[in-house]
């Protein structure tokens, strides 16, 4: 296997082809109303098969190799950002997971079928809303409703 050997042509694949870094990582994640809920900070990978999405194959299970078919089970967001910047790996209990089954579209942003407020990963937004911004006068005023 020398570097000079010509590359084999890649056969046409039966589904849409996405490269994780190029098409998924660091894109905005929008909820069903197009409200940003986070950025796609990492992907959780697990063995394919029934129950794969239910949350059983957690991301800190032993790593898989080429003998197992591996699929993306969930999008990760939140504390994993810090380790992508500074290195290391946070404990899986601290990740915010959004199961792949909630994804409706991958384009210039990743769209979900959920409402953002129903997701764990927007808890800081809700905290700031409930404790600071929502309490200030006019904090819930609709800008389109006039003064």
């Amino acid at each position: 296997m020398t570097g000079a050997a010509p590359l084999l042509p890649e056969p046409r694949q039966p589904g849409r082809v996405l490269d994780a870094r190029l098409h998924l990582l660091d894109r905005q994640v929008l909820d069903v109303d197009s409200v940003p809920v986070g950025t796609l900070d990492d992907l959780e990978l697990g063995p394919s098969g029934p129950g794969a999405a239910a949350g059983s194959p957690r991301a800190d299970d032993p790593p898989l190799d080429g003998t197992t078919t591996v699929v993306v089970t969930a999008l990760l967001s939140g504390p994993v950002l810090g380790t992508r910047v500074f290195g290391g790996r946070p404990p899986a209990s601290r990740w915010h997971r959004v199961l792949w089954r909630h994804v409706t579209d991958v384009g210039t942003a990743v769209r979900l079928a959920n409402r953002g407020d129903d997701l764990d990963l927007t808890w800081t937004e809700r905290w700031v809303r409930d404790h600071v911004v929502g309490r200030l006068p006019g904090g819930r005023h609709d800008p389109d409703a006039g003064p």
């Binding site: 296997m1 570097g3 050997a5 590359l7 084999l8 042509p9 890649e10 694949q13 039966p14 589904g15 849409r16 082809v17 996405l18 490269d19 994780a20 870094r21 190029l22 998924l24 990582l25 990492d42 992907l43 959780e44 990978l45 697990g46 394919s48 794969a52 999405a53 991301a59 800190d60 299970d61 032993p62 790593p63 898989l64 190799d65 080429g66 003998t67 078919t69 591996v70 699929v71 993306v72 089970t73 990760l76 994993v80 380790t83 992508r84 790996r89 199961l99 792949w100 089954r101 909630h102 994804v103 409706t104 579209d105 991958v106 079928a113």
Partner: protein, 120 residues
Amino acid sequence: MIASDLLDARVLEADGQAVGWVVDLRLVLDGTTDGILARPRLHGLVVSPRTRTSFLGFERSDVRSPWPIAPLLRRWHRGTFLVHWPDVARVPEPDDADHPGPAVVVLRPGYLRYDATLHR
């Protein structure tokens, strides 16, 4: 396992010969339908022999502009190839105390190198 466990890992052949770094994961949406979309299957690893990070992905696309940035980056990443997932023999343990140091991916003997170009 998470994507970052594989990304940027050093890629070794079975005999320990280093061939590059994992710059991206190739996914194909051909798994069972899960919700609205098919579940993305990990189809292979995109490996660059020259540099750890794939900057902007020009080596995999047919975009040739803006000149001269696109051609320069393509040249910088020449030799980038795709290995299919079944050719991967071993992947790094997350935070493995027995294997400190940089993460590695080991390929099977007789693995094949495919063209990594993305077609629109």
